[in-house]
């Protein structure tokens, strides 16, 4: 089998699992994204790259328009392509008293990977904020994921990792500090999104001597899908490390979610992967 770099240099679809855990879907008010809500073009781009699946939250997550409508936009896309698009329920600190209701509404719609929250243009909060506890309890009950743009209060993040051991916390943008914490918190991951500096991810794998704490992300479809794959494909790390970050690590997270057994979304990828399923 060819290496990831060889596939990328040839512009050929990857044949190993490729799951992007940090995507967005919907219109953007402050920037021009051509064909931003064209579902067919998004899936076609995923096909060209060999991207199996993108976990997607709303555009302008939690700080634009009607939150339920923004979530429906993503969940409708996921309903049309249930094996390719897995939605996050996007929540906001603007409306803390309604977050539980919105999360339950989204969970009732079908497979949902968890909750995504941003920081921009909303009141500050930490993982210890009162309104967060009911959200994290629900995520723990369903063994889901909590993705945040950036965890500003690391002490409270560590507290939440310990208290909600069944929730997997993902930091939305590349941050070696999160990888350090992940060594002592098995339910913490770092997303590689926006690792801009040359071979930042390869250097991080060499520093950590492991690749199981990182998951590829790109902010696709606000930006192109290469914004995640491109920083990994050429990196100075072993092929197994690239495959972990590009898909195998996310697959392990999916496997622990109860709905993954019944929804069939993993059927194809499991065949290829042959990962250790305890």
């Amino acid at each position: 089998m060819k290496t990831t770099r060889e596939y990328v240099c040839a512009g050929q679809p990857l044949e190993t699992p490729f799951i992007d855990v940090h995507g967005h879907f919907g219109p953007w008010p402050d920037t021009f994204i051509p064909h931003t809500v064209d579902q067919g073009r998004i899936i076609a781009e995923m096909d060209r790259y060999g991207c199996d699946m993108v976990w997607m939250s709303a555009s302008n997550p939690g700080y634009a328009g009607d939150l339920a409508a923004k979530n429906d936009c993503v969940f409708d896309f996921a309903a049309a392509y249930p094996e390719r698009i897995i939605p996050y329920c996007t929540l906001s600190s603007h409306d803390p008293q309604n977050n539980v209701k919105e999360l339950k509404r989204c969970l009732a719609r079908g497979p949902c990977i968890g909750v995504k929250m941003h920081r921009y243009s909303q009141p500050s909060y930490t993982m210890r904020s009162d309104f967060m506890q009911a959200i994290l309890e629900i995520l723990a009950e369903h063994r889901l994921v909590y993705l945040n743009h950036v965890f500003e209060n690391v002490i409270d993040l560590e507290w939440a990792c310990d208290k909600y051991a069944d929730v997997v916390f993902i930091a939305g943008h590349f941050n070696p500090g999160i990888n350090d914490l992940a060594l002592s918190h098995p339910n913490l991951r770092d997303c590689t999104c926006a690792a801009m500096h040359p071979d930042a991810i390869g250097a991080e794998v060499q520093r950590l001597k492991r690749s199981d704490t990182m998951l590829v992300g790109s902010d696709f479809s606000q930006v192109h899908l290469g914004f995640g794959l491109g920083m990994i494909a050429y990196g100075n790390m072993a092929e197994d490390d690239k495959r972990n970050i590009l898909g195998n690590n996310a697959l392990r997270l999916l496997e622990r979610i109860p709905w993954s057994d019944t929804s069939g979304v993993l059927a194809g990828m499991r065949e290829d992967l042959g990962i250790d399923r305890k």
């Binding site: 040839a10 051509p34 801009m196 696709f220 606000q222 930006v223 192109h224 290469g226 914004f227 050429y234």
Partner: protein, 254 residues
């Protein structure tokens, strides 16, 4: 497989931490890693430190490989920090320098027809490209906004001078597309990272308007090479953007 002609690579040490290619040999190794065949190269240390009148390092380093093509920074002629414009352009042509770089944020000046007119008159006469990069030394490209009014002013005033806009900002499509539509002499790199950006520019303005710039050592070249490798465009379009556009532009310098 696509081989790239990179419009912006920094050579030499950096004082900002992170990656760097201190020597030509080191830069060639980076280029090999990303399938970059040739590159327009600038002196990274001089760029950071503000050295505008000594070009020996970049010329010597680029002299060691035909794959490295030197570029130099330019400033408003009024300050007289550099040779007079006619002499500067003659120096460039004598030393194989076929493009110059204006970095108005890093070097703190306004780059419009008033400040740069005397130099641009000389560049235009030679069809020598002006590479424009307005990103700050520690600025993140996501929210970067080039000085669009100044760029339009300059491009309209010197319609036969190619202007290559690097670091357009990742989310500035509404301003960039307007500039591309109004000014046929403007080209842009791939830093406007929007979904479908490459495909859309090609559809509306043709494949001659884009170049690949890796922005090494500030950014990972794989960000741009990967994108172009997978873009939904024909092979000749991909080849134009990957390097043929830049090659043609430099061949047209007189």
């Amino acid at each position: 497989m696509v081989t790239f002609f990179d419009c912006e690579m920094g050579l030499g040490p950096t004082g900002l931490g992170g990656a760097a290619a201190p020597t030509a040999e080191a830069l060639l190794r980076v280029m090999g890693q990303y399938d970059i065949g040739s590159a327009l190269v600038y002196d990274r240390a001089a760029h950071e430190a503000g050295v505008f009148d000594r070009f020996d390092f970049i010329l010597e380093a680029c002299g060691t490989s035909h794959r490295l093509l030197p570029t130099i920074p330019v400033l408003p002629p009024a300050t007289r920090e550099q040779m007079p414009p006619a002499d500067l352009v003659a120096f460039c042509l004598d030393h194989g320098i076929k493009a110059v770089r204006a970095c108005p944020t890093a070097h703190n000046f306004i780059c419009d027809r008033h400040s740069m007119g005397r130099l641009c008159t000389q560049l235009q006469a030679r069809r020598m490209p002006l590479i424009h990069s307005s990103i700050g030394l520690r600025e993140h490209p996501y929210k970067h906004q080039p000085p669009w009014h100044d760029l339009r002013d300059l491009a309209l005033a010197f319609p036969d001078m190619p202007v290559i806009v690097l670091h357009t900002g990742m989310m500035q499509g509404r301003n960039l597309f307007t500039l591309l539509e109004e000014c046929p002499n403007v080209m842009a790199d791939l830093s406007c990272a929007s979904f479908q950006y490459v495909e859309e520019v090609v559809a509306h303005f043709g494949s001659a308007r884009l170049v690949m710039a890796s922005h090494f050592p500030a950014e990972d070249p794989g960000l741009y090479t990967t994108w172009l490798n997978y873009a939904k465009v024909d092979a000749d379009v991909r080849a134009n953007i990957a390097g043929d556009n830049l090659r043609r532009l430099l061949a047209a310098v007189v």
